[in-house]
């Protein structure tokens, strides 16, 4: 049951459904994708912002980065298995995640603070600044991430125009999934925007790869 039009709480995990999950299954439950979307967005925003409470160690950053890598791997596998339908999904996941990040972190301020924190590290003794390149490596992802996001937006303006984030998450994604699964009888896209998507998805997928590579440095 894909539960068309049914709003679900994003915080709840559906353990029973997860147990039935088979990586080779062609139909993904909606809530799994929703939660993956949430975790993806959260992880990206966490890497960008400083923790509210004090956590001076690397543990938090490493765990968040590993979580992102795991999601990336899943999406990559799915993209390979089902190029037509779920590549759309993957791209949309990233697009909306990046759109949220854009809202949270305006480009100008981030660039200036990055420059300054880098300056801060440069005044330290040599052995210390060499050891802290983990920090600088993660910070340096951001300018190129935003550049990539910009180019991605340029490629698919129609996608963003047609769907607001809320629509996308709670209603349209059900339609998209239902209409675009290989199991459905009419594989041809039923909405005009998906036509645009399929034409440009190949180049966008490359953009996507590029973004993820830049993001997690893999």
């Amino acid at each position: 049951m894909l539960g068309k039009g049914l709003k679900r709480k994003l915080e709840q995990e559906e353990e029973n459904e997860r147990k039935k999950m088979d990586p080779h299954q062609e139909v993904m439950p909606t809530f799994y994708c929703l939660q993956r979307q949430t975790v993806l967005t959260l992880s990206l925003s966490k890497l960008h912002s400083q923790p509210a409470h004090s956590d001076p160690g690397l543990v938090r950053r490493v765990l968040i980065t590993n979580t992102l890598r795991h999601i990336q791997e899943e999406l990559r596998v799915e993209a390979v298995l089902l190029p037509q339908s779920l590549a759309t999904d993957i791209k949309d996941s990233f697009t909306s995640a990046l759109a949220e990040i854009e809202d949270l972190c305006p480009a100008v301020e981030i660039t200036s603070s990055l420059t300054n924190s880098h300056k801060f590290r440069q005044t330290e003794p040599v052995h210390e600044s060499m050891e802290s390149n983990m920090d600088s490596a993660l910070f340096q992802f951001t300018p190129s991430l935003l550049d990539s996001a910009q180019s991605l937006f340029n490629h698919c303006p129609s996608l963003l125009a047609d769907f607001s984030l809320d629509d996308f998450l709670f209603t349209e994604i059900d339609n998209l999934l239902f209409d675009n699964t290989p199991c459905s009888s009419s594989p041809s896209p039923s909405s005009g925007s998906s036509k645009v998507i399929s034409m440009t998805f190949k180049s966008d997928l490359n953009e996507l790869d590029h973004i993820m590579e830049v993001l997690v440095g893999s």
Partner: protein
């Protein structure tokens, strides 16, 4: 284990003040002293009263013995940054003479002065590479109850006397004075850690100790401050390949060549320093295979071990991850001996806990003196005890409303769904800002110390 724990409440600080959040609690090896460190860089040491026949109901209460500032807050004028020090860990040395010694390790918080508009828009943040150095300090705490009187060159107020007025010499005499407790830093071990120090552990040889950061473990001689020996290094050549960090480490309680360290991926490695100088290769690897039915996006995060402790006997290891406490047999690497659920009702809330960062909270765990009971903290000022023999467990609460002196602590229960009984609390009502991360158990008696944000609670077993 008695479930009736009489509550003797001793509060450390009345006001809710961020710098007074307790960050570590530790009994010394006899239980006579209890040390706490806080986020303001302050150490407070409590001493147990001698039991008196005249007042048998006052069963050795703990009173403040010494308070000292481990480091003064600094201000960096050049960068308009304020630097504050927070105590991370305290470990007592075994007592060898009348004085007491403890090791403390520090963390630095750097944030801009709001009154100054800096040219750089520096964000308040923690730096994994600090501006002041990460240090371990050895403190000597000693008593003074006599002072010299009758100096020749100074008068009683300390003013220098005119030498021409001195006509006779006398020997100064030691006279009694009110007891004073002095704390002096005797060693400062520095320049060995770039990353955040998460553990220190004193070796059973009483000559060495180790300090552990995210990527390295260093061995020190207590007498030598200008050099340390690196025994574990997991830093990859390329930091972008970093996927695992060290989260805690401890020496074996009686074998001075054995140590263990835990990781963010849920594994524990045991190293033998006799095998090789650099212990990058472990002797044993303790790891439990993942349960596929419990797989989620947060599986790795909740498997990260926040604390590892040898039992007093040295036969067992206890580890704490986000949802459980596990007991391992040192001779069995493939799975834990026992697993205890601390707050499994949080498993369905992991996404929210990821969002508000609570999933990264580092809970500690402790053994009781006989290794039969385990204790660890939770949210809502709850803490949990597990009896390994009877398999019974209890949830207790450390809060001022529920604990009056001599009162008996009532077991608490969290309701996970369905009908909530009168005394139960529902999962959604839990206060996640009230977390008990640090607890300590007296080495031989049933006395526990529980740190709840900026309050310290000391509970004792009921007198029959």
């Amino acid at each position: 284990m008695s479930e009736h724990v009489s509550a003797h409440v001793s509060t450390l600080c009345e006001d809710i003040c961020p710098t007074d959040i307790i960050s570590t609690v530790e009994f010394n090896s006899t239980g006579e002293l209890l040390a706490t460190g806080d986020k303001g860089g302050r150490v407070v040491v409590f001493q147990r009263e001698q039991e008196s026949k005249n007042q048998p109901h006052r069963r050795g209460e703990y009173n403040v013995y010494s308070t000292f500032q481990s480091h003064e807050p600094e201000f960096d004028y050049l960068k308009s940054l304020e630097i504050e020090e927070k105590i991370n860990k305290i470990r007592w040395l075994p007592q060898q003479n009348a004085a007491y010694f403890l090791l403390s390790t520090n963390d630095w918080k750097v944030f801009p002065d709001p009154n100054i508009t800096p040219t750089d828009s520096s964000l308040p943040c923690w730096h994994s590479s600090p501006c002041p150095d990460k240090t371990v300090k050895l403190w000597k705490i000693s008593e003074r109850d006599k002072r010299p009187e009758g100096y020749n060159l100074k008068d009683e107020e300390g003013r220098i006397r005119d030498p021409s007025t001195i006509t006779a010499l006398r020997v100064p005499v030691m006279t009694p004075m009110d007891l004073m407790v002095d704390a002096t830093p005797r060693r400062i071990f520095s320049n060995a850690h770039t990353y955040h120090i998460n553990s220190i552990s004193v070796n059973s040889d009483y000559e060495t100790y180790m300090s552990t950061d995210d990527l390295r473990i260093n061995l020190w001689n207590l007498e030598i401050t200008n050099q340390s020996f690196n025994i574990v290094d997991i830093k990859p050549a390329n930091m972008e390949e970093l996927t695992e960090v060290i989260t805690a480490a401890e020496f074996h309680p009686n074998q001075c060549n054995i140590l263990v360290y835990s990781s963010s991926k849920g594994s524990i490695r045991l190293c033998d320093m006799r095998e090789s100088a650099l212990c990058d290769n472990h002797s044993k690897l303790f790891e439990e295979p993942e349960d596929p039915s419990n797989r989620s996006f947060f599986s790795e995060i909740i498997s990260s071990i926040s604390d590892v402790k040898f039992s007093h006997s040295g036969r067992y290891l206890m580890t704490r991850d986000y949802l459980t406490v596990k007991v391992w047999d040192v001779n069995m690497e493939n799975k834990p001996l026992e697993t205890y659920q601390v707050h499994d009702y949080l498993r369905s809330k992991l996404c929210s806990l990821y969002e508000n960062d609570c999933i990264f909270d580092k809970f500690e765990c402790v053994w009781n003196g006989t290794d039969s009971v385990l204790m660890t903290g939770s949210y809502n000022n709850f803490f949990r005890m597990f009896d390994r023999n009877t398999k019974r467990d209890v949830t207790l609460e450390a809060s001022r409303e529920n604990s009056k002196p001599r009162a008996i602590l009532k077991p608490r229960k969290v309701c996970v769904g369905g009908k909530r009984r009168k005394d139960e609390i529902s999962v959604d009502s839990l206060d996640f800002s009230k977390k008990i991360l640090h607890t300590a158990w007296h080495p031989s008696e049933n006395i526990i110390a529980v740190a709840a944000t900026n309050n310290l609670y000391i509970f004792q077993d009921k007198v029959n």
